[in-house]
């Protein structure tokens, strides 16, 4: 394989990380919480699509939409039941609750669908395109395109619509936003809904590219994407995009040229170096402390 091949597959993996990281970063930006259960919503999305397509025989596109719809509902329910009662609690308490939700989702999945890995048939087929030296699978192309589209739509949503404006206001100052008549609770719920919907898409793409589906499928990509969000500057949407892409590319190139086993170590090593040089991530804003 040539360098270009590694680069493209890195871009594809990075696009998946970026979509997951967008969910992390939006929730963090607005609710100031690390939603550890996000990775498991990805897994749930993968399972829903799997059953919709392979058991009930829906066309793949319907499967994706069903997965998105159900995951969005799941996100809202989780937010209502587990996170909303803790709005004024210390952040560590919320973090532990999120971990509890993550365990809950993983173990429910294990009970419902057993821990035997399921083979996920790619939603876009197994075809490849050859361009000279470069061999690209359909999944790779679709993943990259979907990621770019999501990025553009999300940026437009946040900067142009009323809800997006409310989100930015809440992320800047919750109290002040409330005084201006913004419904903070609804805004946070919408953020969770969007994040979970994106997680479903990420789940489908992830399983299409790496076709084994298990209750723990989401955890490692979840942690990597979280890393990507911090890498790019947590709370920043372009930061999550950039962080995800870079993380995917670094991981793939490290696998190809340095060592497969040590690729994770290299990824995390790069993260540490970046955070030491830029403590708020690549595109994060350095917050000045007020005394």
């Amino acid at each position: 394989m040539s360098f270009l091949n590694y680069l493209v597959s890195g871009l594809s993996l990075g696009s998946i990380y970026a979509i997951i990281a967008l969910g992390y970063t939006m929730v963090y930006g607005i609710a100031k919480m690390l939603n550890f259960a996000h990775g498991d919503v990805i897994m749930v999305g993968g399972y829903i699509c799997f059953f919709a397509v392979q058991r009930f025989g829906f066309p793949p596109i319907v499967g994706v939409i069903v997965a998105m719809a159900l995951c969005t509902c799941l996100g809202i329910i989780i937010e209502r039941l587990a996170y909303k009662p803790l709005r004024s609690a210390p952040s560590l308490a919320v973090l532990i609750t999120a971990i509890g939700v993550s365990y809950f989702l993983q173990n429910s999945a294990q009970l419902l669908w057993t821990s035997n890995p399921k083979v996920f048939a790619s939603v876009v087929g197994d075809g490849t395109i050859q361009m000279g030296d470069l061999v690209v699978s359909h999944v790779t192309i679709v993943t990259i395109i979907v990621c770019i589209v999501i990025m553009l739509v999300l940026t437009a949503f946040v900067s142009k619509t009323k809800m997006g404006k409310a989100m930015r206001a809440v992320s800047e100052d919750k109290g002040a936003a409330q005084l201006m008549g913004i419904d903070v609770n609804t805004t946070i719920s919408v953020t969770f809904a969007i994040g979970s919907g994106l997680a479903a898409i990420a789940g489908v793409l992830l399983c299409s590219a790496y076709p084994t589906l298990m209750p723990t499928t989401g955890s490692m990509p979840g942690i990597k994407a979280f890393t990507a969000a911090v890498f790019g500057g947590i709370g920043s949407i372009p930061g999550a995009f950039l962080g995800g892409l870079l993380l995917g590319i670094i991981e793939n190139l490290a696998k190809a040229y340095i060592s497969t086993q040590l690729s994770d170590a290299i990824v995390f090593g790069v993260l540490i170096v970046v955070l030491l040089v830029k403590p708020a991530g690549l595109l994060g804003k350095a917050v000045r402390e007020k005394v």
Partner: protein, 360 residues
């Protein structure tokens, strides 16, 4: 006056904590000696001690320094691998006494982990909040993949070491110590409940004395208000790294104890889940509350075992317990409900006693 009272109270708390640990040890040890303890329960004694020590170590970081660490399993891993390797080497070189091996191994583990903790602390403690948390997580992942790709062997010619691939051949009498992803195998289980008890006591003594000392007060001042502490001339970084190094050393010793309780040791055991498990102990027990950490670590180590009869549902129950406990202890409405209930209850009691007096 109120402050002074608090000081006295925290001392009392220390004695209470020591007492609870000693009493628990005496009860469990005598139960085991008289054969009244099920084999499952007595097999869990050492892991409980190791997890309690881990929870105390992490509580020093989270509760006293006030920084979130998601990577304490990494320190546990360093301690487990360094200590167990030395113990295997000692065994190879004919050190017969398991007590000597265990003690030397645990001290070595603590020292090695303290050095690593110091080196890791230098970059980590420069960051704040969630960024600090993610970097500790990153270090733990790096440590995990390094140990999973490390090869260490010993024979007459000395130690052999390589990374990623096994690049050495041992002579017939040689012994491979760490074998990549398979870790350390055929370990002689030399960890004892007594060693675990002593480790927990040492951790408690160190932490309580640290909290009462000048260093400890400076560290807590930094936790409560870093800027104020800095402005009165407390060297923030120096104090933080002192406590972080101590915390790492404790985790290392606990790791060594843990590692020598099983016949094999793999790097993947010390992943993010383990770090989070320990964090759960600390948060459920209460940050800065050592007795709470001890109780939470014990209860949550026993709980999944006690739920064995639920078989498949046990981890689900565990998750639900976790969520419900966090909600009831942190939600303002639920908290008010609970305290209301308590108030009513105590008023009723007061009323009863008052009534009793009137009747007389």
């Amino acid at each position: 006056m109120k402050k002074l009272k608090n000081l006295v109270k925290s001392k009392n708390n220390a004695w209470l904590t020591y007492a609870v640990v000693v009493i628990a040890y005496v009860i469990m040890a005598s139960l085991r000696a008289s054969g009244n303890l099920s084999s499952k329960m007595s097999g869990m004694l050492v892991p409980i001690c190791a997890y309690v020590a881990m929870a105390l170590a992490l509580n020093l970081t989270v509760g006293i320094i006030g920084e979130l660490s998601l990577g304490h399993a990494g320190f546990m891993s360093i301690g487990a691998f360094a200590g167990t390797s030395l113990i295997v080497i000692m065994q190879y070189n004919g050190v017969a006494s398991p007590t000597v091996r265990l003690v030397v191994g645990m001290i070595f583990a603590a020292v090695v982990t303290a050095v690593c903790g110091f080196l890791i602390g230098i970059p980590v403690l420069r960051l704040r909040g969630d960024y600090l948390a993610i970097v500790t997580l990153a270090f733990a992942e790096i440590i995990k993949s390094l140990f999973a790709n490390m090869y260490l062997g010993i024979d007459e010619t000395g130690l052999h070491f390589s990374i990623v691939e096994k690049k050495f051949e041992l002579t017939e009498t040689g012994r491979i110590i760490i074998e990549g992803a398979m870790g350390i195998r055929s370990i002689t289980k030399i960890s004892t409940f007594l060693a675990g008890f002593i480790l927990v006591m040492i951790c408690l003594i160190v932490i309580f004395n640290l909290m009462q000392s000048r260093t400890g007060r400076a560290i807590m001042a930094i936790r409560d208000n870093r800027i104020a502490a800095e402005s009165i001339g407390i060297p923030v970084f120096k104090y933080k790294i002192t406590a972080f190094t101590i915390s790492a050393a404790m985790a290392g010793a606990a790791g060594c104890l843990f590692g020598n309780n099983y016949s094999s040791l793999v790097a993947s055991k010390f992943n993010i889940d383990t770090s989070i498990l320990i964090l759960v102990f600390v948060v459920l027990g209460g940050q800065g509350n050592m007795l709470g950490s001890i109780i939470a670590a014990t209860a949550l180590t026993v709980l999944p075992e006690a739920l064995r009869s639920f078989a498949d549902y046990r981890m689900l129950v565990y998750a639900i317990v976790l969520i419900v406990v966090m909600l009831t202890t942190n939600n303002p409405q639920l908290k008010a409900l609970v305290s209301n209930f308590k108030e009513k209850f105590s008023k009723k009691k007061e009323g009863e006693s008052a009534g009793g007096l009137a009747n007389e």
